[in-house]
């Protein structure tokens, strides 16, 4: 598809409706065009998964890990994430309560929201599409081992699986076990293997693996610029 040929755009009903509602909201004084622009800039500027730095830091600095488990919102500040941005009371859909779920060699956490798509957006970016689907939400709470196997994660029966159904105001982040073979690594090296999927709990960090499992991508007709489908 070349850029110099103007395409006749298929404007969808959703696009029309969104524009109509935004115009009316501005005309009625509910919010201003400037506020909409500012929030858009904030949303577009969000890092894909800054929590990988938090995990890496927790792996290398026991005092930080303690602080992160006790007060994750304050600990987020230490890796550059202020949960009160951009409104002064946070991103309204995400609230400002974070709970870090620490894995151990015998305990593995996996996060879902069976009621909608609650997700720690400020520190983990936008939720992946599959996380929002009824299919994942229906099944992960009932047959977690089977669903994790579909993600390529096979856990031994000795490991307790703990599903976190994130249904209220807390947001949850999995702190995986630091894998063997990473001795002496810098925080930066470690952060590279802590992918989004590891922090949802559908994958485990592995030396040499710095991306989520490659899945099919449903492409947008008119994608937003710089949109990442996840680290």
């Amino acid at each position: 598809m070349t850029k110099d040929v103007p395409m006749v755009e298929e404007i969808t009903d959703f696009e029309v409706l969104e524009v109509a509602l935004r115009e009316l909201a501005i005309e009625k004084g509910l919010f201003t065009a400037e506020e909409h622009r500012r929030y858009t800039e904030f949303a577009e500027g969000m890092e894909p998964a800054p929590a990988s730095r938090l995990v890496a830091k927790a792996w290398t600095d026991p005092a930080f890990k303690k602080r992160a488990l006790e007060d994750p919102i304050a600990a987020s500040l230490e890796v550059g994430i202020n949960w009160l941005n951009p409104t002064g009371f946070g991103t309204p859909s995400d609230f400002t309560a974070l709970h870090i779920l620490e894995d151990t060699p015998t305990l593995h956490h996996v996060v879902t929201c069976t009621l909608c798509s609650c997700y720690p957006r400020p520190i983990l970016g936008n939720s992946p599409e599959w996380y929002r689907t009824p299919n994942y939400r229906r099944r992960i709470v009932r047959t977690p081992r089977q669903v994790l196997a579909e993600f390529g994660l096979f856990l031994s029966p000795e490991i307790e699986i703990r599903v976190e159904d994130s249904n209220s105001k807390h947001r949850f982040l999995v702190l995986p076990v630091r894998p063997a073979g990473t001795e002496g690594w810098s925080e930066e090296q470690l952060a590279a293997i802590v992918t989004r999927d590891c922090m949802i709990g559908v994958a485990l960090p592995k030396p040499g693996v710095t991306t989520n499992v490659v899945r099919t991508v449903h492409h947008a007709t008119e994608p937003i610029t710089g949109h990442s489908t996840g680290k």
Binding site: P6, V8, E9, I11, F14, E15, L17, E18, V19, L21, E23, L24, A25, I26, E27, G29, L30, F31, A33, H36, T40, A43, T87, G88, F89, P92, F95, T96, A97, H99, T114, L115, C116, N126, P128, E129, T133, P134, N135, R137, R138, R139, R142, T143, F151, E160, V163, D165, S166, N167, S168, K169, H170, R215, H218, A220, P223, I224, H227, T229
Partner: protein, 286 residues
Amino acid sequence: MKQAVERPGPTNTDIMGDPVSEMRPALHRLRDWVYPDQIDHALYRAYMKQSHDVGGEPDAPGIFEEKEEEKWELNTFVDCEVLGWRGIWTSEERRRIGNVDIGRTMYCGLPYYGRWLWAIIRILMEKQHITLGELVERVHSVQERAAGRTTQNPLEAEPRSTGNEKTVVRNRHHKDAVGKGDPQCFKGMAGKARFSVGDKVRVRELPTILYSRTQEYLRGAQGTIARVTYESPAPEDEAFNREDKKPEWFYIVRFKMTDIWKSYAGPSQDTLQSEIVERWLEPHST
């Protein structure tokens, strides 16, 4: 009045036959005119079930995909967030409207952000910020503007004026939460927490009416308080903008999988946690 009853948990054999499954994603009954004596309690519950409450519903393995976001989806998300920022609604009102009020057919049929958009329509109408006449005319005129647009000449919002922000009715929350966050802004308002870490509790089996964030698959299940979390208005109040109601304590409750699903085939040590508001919990001793 409340008696401990044997919890009728789902088994492998009754999964496909329960009325709630028949309701998904739409009515699978040929009959669309029903007499009062034809609705028993199970079917009544299926009709009252909230469309967002999908945990445990039977489903076959799906394909887990990533997706790029459309421009209108980002704009919709931002509209919703800015409406929260400026005190037009709380996220709980948005979730009630876009995930439950919308009904099962549209819940399963519209794209994710299509439901967010629908929620904007409802809230602006319910709170009388716009009239339906205004909206219908505006959508019609935007459709006309959109005709023949190209990728080099995209559809843009072109508000005709700027409204007086001072005359708009807004909630208290968007001011009270500044500098504190939510739920931190409700700290100290709920009184003494009824439960402590380690307490045995049972999720109450209250009827499902309009809105709740206590999942049906946990109703009646026994668990243990894993953490006393925060104070916040109950979803049943916040979803209807009842800022006059007292906040309550929330708890992360831990359940054994085998206490939730009678048919759970995994190892007996597997667990599940969820965050439940105090009114939905009762003490339970074994």
